[in-house]
């Protein structure tokens, strides 16, 4: 088991390195064509005192300060010689952007944001502070609700039909529509203004933690409800299919023959076996917890991870974008690793090849 985990861990790290390297090279290759010059915005007739040449120079100087000049990789295509047959490769040595970035990465330095000069690790940490309570809370609520409705799944009844119908409807509605509907229903002065419309409210560091926790719960209630509703079908519908399969098994028949009520048969016997396919969902769930939800964070104005990455992508803030992608990729790979391990725990008959 130990050898297996070590092997998979090494493979996961290699995969993460490959993913992030490709993204680095693709993003930086595009960046070389886009010299930013914030104050000298395009389409502005106000930035008039700078001549076109000065504007160009400003962009080039900014590129240089951000480390976007110089060779991108160890090799680059050299101009074809006049009498040559085609491309020639030019060796750039270690003085290239990729090498510098990789060296910093090995030292756990993800660089600084192009926008505000803050360390990327700090920005990611701050965003996770807002994202994790939301996504973990939503995951716990979803799993709890699935646990509650599980006895009504898998066997024909009007409750199952109703629940499945509801899940399919919720699943068919786009997430932003769910978020806006909840806002209009529960944070609207014309309907029910029970919850705040946005944000996390004023933060009083001096307040005792139960008060702060309550304020957080109050402000996160609608985003939490949105995410919970959105993630319920993804958990409940496969579980229903798995339960239907399990409820036809002999051991369920035996349990019923012993006189156990249906809810106990499902909770104590069938559910455990039906959960096995659900372990695969871990690979989706864990990165989702870290990546946050762009839509929910935008609608409810929460400064979480999804919004950070979306804004970083729009602003070409590559260090932040790469840091976020690296984190999500690592968590996804770790999720796969964890799922493999949990399989062996849930069903000892499963053998994992090294």
């Amino acid at each position: 088991m130990g050898r297996f985990l070590l092997h998979r861990l090494l493979r996961a790290l290699l995969a993460a390195w490959a993913i992030i390297s490709v993204i680095f090279l693709l993003s930086r290759a595009g960046a070389q064509e886009r010299p930013p010059a914030s104050r000298l915005a395009e389409g502005s007739l106000s930035a008039t005192t700078a001549s076109p040449v000065q504007r160009r120079q400003a962009g080039q100087l900014q590129q240089r300060r951000l480390g976007l000049t110089g060779p991108l990789f160890y090799v680059s295509a050299a101009p074809a010689p006049a009498a040559g047959l085609g491309w020639r490769w030019h060796w750039n040595g270690r003085a290239n952007q990729y090498h510098q970035w990789l060296r910093r990465l090995v030292h756990a330095n993800l660089g600084v944001s192009f926008r505000d000069g803050q360390p990327v690790t700090l920005l990611l940490g701050q965003s996770l502070r807002y994202t994790l309570p939301l996504t973990v809370g939503a995951a716990v609520c979803s799993i709890g609700l699935v646990w509650l409705v599980a006895p009504h799944l898998g066997r024909p009844s009007w409750r199952r039909r109703f629940l499945l119908g509801l899940f399919f409807v919720v699943d068919a509605v786009p997430l932003f529509v769910v978020a806006l509907l909840l806002l209009l229903l529960l944070a609207n002065p014309d309907a029910l203004a029970w919850f705040p419309a946005y944000g996390l409210g004023p933060e009083d560091a001096a307040a005792p933690w139960p008060v702060r926790l309550q304020a957080l719960a109050y402000h996160l209630a609608l985003p939490l409800l949105t995410l919970t509703l959105a993630s319920l079908p993804a958990l409940a519908v496969p579980l229903d299919a798995a339960l239907r399969h399990e409820l036809r098994a002999d051991y369920v028949l035996t349990a019923r023959a012993k006189g156990l009520p249906d809810s106990l048969v499902i909770r104590h016997h069938a559910l455990r076996n039906a959960l096995l396919p659900a372990l695969t969902l871990l690979t989706e769930l864990l990165p989702g917890l870290v990546a946050g939800s762009v839509v929910v964070e935008l609608v409810y104005s929460l400064p979480g991870m999804g919004r950070l990455l979306a804004e970083a992508a729009a602003a070409h803030d590559y260090p932040v974008l790469l840091g976020g992608v690296l984190l999500i990729a690592l968590v996804r790979l770790l999720g796969q690793l964890l799922a493999d391990w949990l399989y062996t725990l849930a069903d000892p008959r499963i053998r994992l090849p090294v």
Partner: protein, 579 residues
């Protein structure tokens, strides 16, 4: 199950009943759509950062929104201007009351220091460096520590205004050891990043010290001369500014409007989604909602329940224009571009996409600019028949395959232009669809191409687009079209490829002209040239829309961004408000 539901209900009930209800009597809460991101006065990446910096730091001059002109701020009066053969000399004197928070007077040496910081290598000042590079030197008055003279080449009145439009930084805060004092402005300008070995140790030490202050995220490390201090900034959530109890502006006798700051607290709430911001306004969570989408603005204004809100509009200098890339073979001749300009149903678009809250113009000058606007030119008409006639005149012939022409010595051309725009903007999409429908009626197949913003910019710079939509922003002070229409800006702001020696000279003459009457003549001529050559079509100028709590007055709603003057806002007592 019942126990769970009961517990959940209790928790929600408790939360609702005990929701925090902060006191907002002295606070003005304003909606922002995005975070300022960086509050380093040298960087200022967006309008939110500019707005905040203008409340934390004073410049020599500022804009009087009501009169739409520059007025003195730190400067005692508007500067005196003298000309020599080659130089313009602008002399300022700082107000005697102007002082930093510790009581030290703001002196001419602080202005000299600011110019040096804006030119110092190793700092994130590339944009400021380019923008204020026109100031060649500063001469301090040996007898009056508040008087100084700036020298620059060029005679444009815009340069005089620009010479006083940057936040003045405190030398004693940023450079207590005087590391830059003995280095001339010219030496700093000559130094570059490439010349690092030549850079003196003091410049390097200063740059390091500046970086350590981390002003981008901690502007409180550099107290400014403005009326507010940053009390709290939670990135992506809100920015809280507090009025200084003792601000130098309060000591100025008979203080002009620009030296008055009324709200005790300004709380900028960052609400990314428009629909959420609208709900927040209606709930009373925010007091001011600037740049409200037209549809929501009109709907809310018509809603009788919105009695506690007041609605304002102002003619802005922000316009939507359709550009024609003249480097593309099909769009190279003016007649074809003129033909396309008649396929825009501008009144219909203003009504459909802006709910009537926009106004047409013959060109890049706002119709509100008085004599500068060429009112002898007719507004563009929606006339597909005329478009067909112009196309025929341009050598195009219509057949079963559409419009084609066979220029001598060149490959045959088909008229099937692409129409590109930034995706996610309903107003852009409305224009694209209307244009496509109008073109289809005369047999031209137009391909709308919505694009992700950065891809759109990249393609625009590379000159790969044919017809495109772009927002342009101007102001009432400056008429310099070089950034978007000068041939030197081609590919770098000028995406139409417009520009000949004659038009370049005309653009330069407009920018340099001192005499208003002569400048008006030149501007009217330029508008005629643009109509004739048709590199772009101005579809409409926007009207800024702002909704605010009725208890707020004196917002100075204006067509210049951000569209209001936060420091001027006054709050009426609750009983005095009448719907």
């Amino acid at each position: 199950m019942k126990r769970y539901l009961l517990g959940l209900g209790c928790l929600l009930g408790l939360s609702v009943c005990s929701s925090p209800t902060p006191n907002h009597a002295d606070t003005v809460r304003i909606r922002w759509a995005r975070d300022p991101e960086n509050l380093d006065p040298l960087v200022l990446p967006n309008a939110q950062a500019v707005e905040t910096t203008n409340l934390l730091h004073c410049s020599l001059l500022t804009v009087d929104y009501a009169q739409k002109k520059f007025v003195p701020w730190l400067a005692e009066t508007m500067p005196t201007v003298r000309r020599t053969d080659s130089l313009t000399l602008v002399t300022y004197r700082l107000r005697p009351e102007a002082a930093w928070d510790n009581g030290q007077p703001i002196l001419a040496s602080d202005v000299a220091f600011t110019l040096k910081v804006m030119s110092c290598p190793g700092l994130p000042n590339e944009a400021a460096r380019a923008q204020f590079a026109f100031i060649e030197s500063i001469q301090l008055d040996s007898l009056d520590r508040r008087r100084f003279t700036l020298a620059f080449r060029g005679k444009s009145p815009d340069l005089v205004q620009a010479s006083g439009d940057y936040p003045i930084l405190a030398e004693h805060q940023l450079d207590p050891r005087g590391q830059l004092r003995h280095i001339s402005l010219a030496a700093l300008r000559a130094d570059t990043v490439q010349a690092t070995p030549r850079r003196s140790a003091s410049v390097t030490a200063f740059a390091r010290g500046y970086a350590q202050k981390n002003l981008g995220r901690h502007p409180e490390n550099l107290p400014g001369s403005g009326p507010y201090v940053l009390k709290e900034w939670r990135a992506g959530r809100h920015v809280l500014l507090q009025r200084k109890k003792q601000w130098w502006g309060d000591r100025v006798p008979a203080a002009p409007p620009q030296l008055r700051a009324h709200p005790k607290t300004l709380d900028y709430q960052i609400i990314t989604d428009d629909a959420t911001a609208l709900l927040a306004l209606r709930r009373g969570d925010i007091d001011v909602y600037p740049m409200m989408p037209a549809k929501e603005f009109v709907r809310l204004r018509q809603n009788q329940k919105a009695g506690d809100l007041a609605f304002y509009t102002a003619d802005s200098y922000e316009m939507l224009a359709a550009g024609f890339n003249m480097r593309q073979p099909a769009l190279r001749d003016a007649l074809t571009r003129q033909a396309f300009s008649h396929l825009f149903d501008i009144p219909g678009l203003i009504q459909a996409s802006q709910q009537g809250l926009a106004y047409p113009s013959v060109s890049l000058v706002s119709p509100t600019a008085g004599p500068l606007y060429n009112d002898s030119l007719p507004l563009l008409t929606f006339d597909p028949q005329k478009a067909q006639a112009l196309l025929t005149q341009a050598g195009w012939t219509r057949n079963s395959q559409g419009w084609t022409r066979h220029p001598a010595g060149a490959a045959p051309q088909r008229l099937e232009p692409t129409f590109s725009y930034r995706a996610g903007e309903p107003a852009y999409e409305a224009v694209a669809l209307q244009f496509r429908a109008a073109a289809a009626k005369i047999g031209i197949q137009v391909q709308p191409r919505p694009m992700e913003a950065s891809l759109f910019s990249q393609q625009l710079r590379a000159g790969r687009l044919e017809i495109y939509l772009q927002s342009l922003s101007g102001n009432p002070f400056v008429y310099n079209f070089a950034p978007i229409l000068h041939s030197q800006s081609t590919g770098w702001g000028n995406f139409t490829g417009f520009g000949t020696a004659t038009t370049d000279q005309l653009i330069e003459a407009i920018a340099a002209e001192e005499d208003p009457a002569r400048q008006a003549q030149l501007l009217r001529k330029f508008q005629r040239v643009l109509r004739q050559d048709c590199p772009l079509v101005v579809l409409y100028f926007l009207r800024y829309r702002l909704a605010a709590a009725r208890r707020l007055t004196n917002l100075h709603v204006t067509g210049i961004r951000p569209g209001y003057e936060a420091a001027a806002i006054k709050s009426q007592p609750a009983g005095a408000v009448r719907p």
